[in-house]
């Protein structure tokens, strides 16, 4: 057990070292390094507040280059598979929002320059609502949405 902990500490210090090297060699922009868990966005109670906290604006351009794949009807709101594909260059992040959840902003994926515009995960949905995908590419925000009918809500209660 003690050994396992030591290993974690060692790993932690090693990776911190790697980040330091990456900054000094200019591989990472300071912004990418400073990016942190968006606490305000994840506790925001409305889509607009969540968007403002996460991305600084609620102005999104609807794009048909973004595809949101999700079931039309989700029998179990606790597990709703969502895949977002974006056919764009310079994608910086993909965020997933369930409009009617108590805290709508669910996840945000920061993508490195090597990444392709594709993320897939499974989310909880409280009730029937739009699943909104927001893609940040070349510092512009694009969105697409898809309505998912939820038969049994997945936020317990």
């Amino acid at each position: 057990m003690i050994n396992a902990k030591r290993r974690v500490v060692l790993k932690g210090s090693l990776s911190a070292g790697a980040v330091g090297v990456a900054i000094s060699s200019g591989l990472l922009t300071p912004q990418a390094v400073l990016a942190d868990w968006p606490a305000a966005a994840f506790t925001a109670k409305t889509v607009d507040d969540g968007l403002k906290d996460l991305l600084g604006t609620t102005k999104l351009e609807t794009s048909d280059k973004i595809k949101v794949k999700a079931p039309d009807i989700a029998e179990n709101g606790a597990v709703v598979p969502v895949t977002v594909e974006a056919d764009m260059d310079g994608i910086q992040s993909i965020s997933i929002i369930a409009a009617a959840n108590p805290t709508p902003v669910i996840a945000s994926f920061d993508l490195g320059p090597e990444a392709v515009g594709f993320v897939s995960t499974r989310i909880k949905m409280a009730k029937t609502a739009k699943v909104i995908a927001v893609v940040k590419a070349r510092d512009k925000l694009y969105s697409a949405a898809r309505e998912v009918k939820v038969t049994i809500g997945g936020c317990g209660g």
Binding site: A4, L28, W37, F42, T103, S108, G112, F118, R122, I123
Partner: protein, 104 residues
């Protein structure tokens, strides 16, 4: 907290797809235990990071809105068969895990 991560990475036509399943309760902190009536404390993964050759390919920031035992998949370019990818997660209680997979 060992072995909470199952991962598979495959390269096809220059694009590597990483698929992973993580064992984690993902409690939001908003749900009451039906038997005791007490709120189940928040316990969820906040951050998942994937590295390839010291580059951060993907960082996922999560709330408790991601389903229990989360699934995550993403794709990136440039890697070859035999390269290693490292996936790690951290949760709101400070627990963490990481694993390394070889790209098939």
């Amino acid at each position: 907290m060992a072995n909470t991560i199952r991962i598979r990475a495959r390269v096809k036509d220059g694009v590597t797809e990483v698929k992973s399943l993580i064992s984690h309760p993902m409690d939001t902190g908003l749900v009451k235990d039906k038997k005791t009536g007490e709120v189940i404390p928040a316990h969820f993964i906040k951050e998942v990071v994937c590295k390839w050759k010291d580059k951060t390919v993907m960082t996922a920031y999560w709330s408790g809105g991601v389903s229990r035992n989360p699934y995550i998949a993403f794709k990136f370019k440039g890697a070859s068969k035999g390269d290693k990818v490292e996936l790690s997660w951290k949760d709101n209680k400070g627990e963490s895990d990481s694993t390394t997979a070889t790209i098939e």
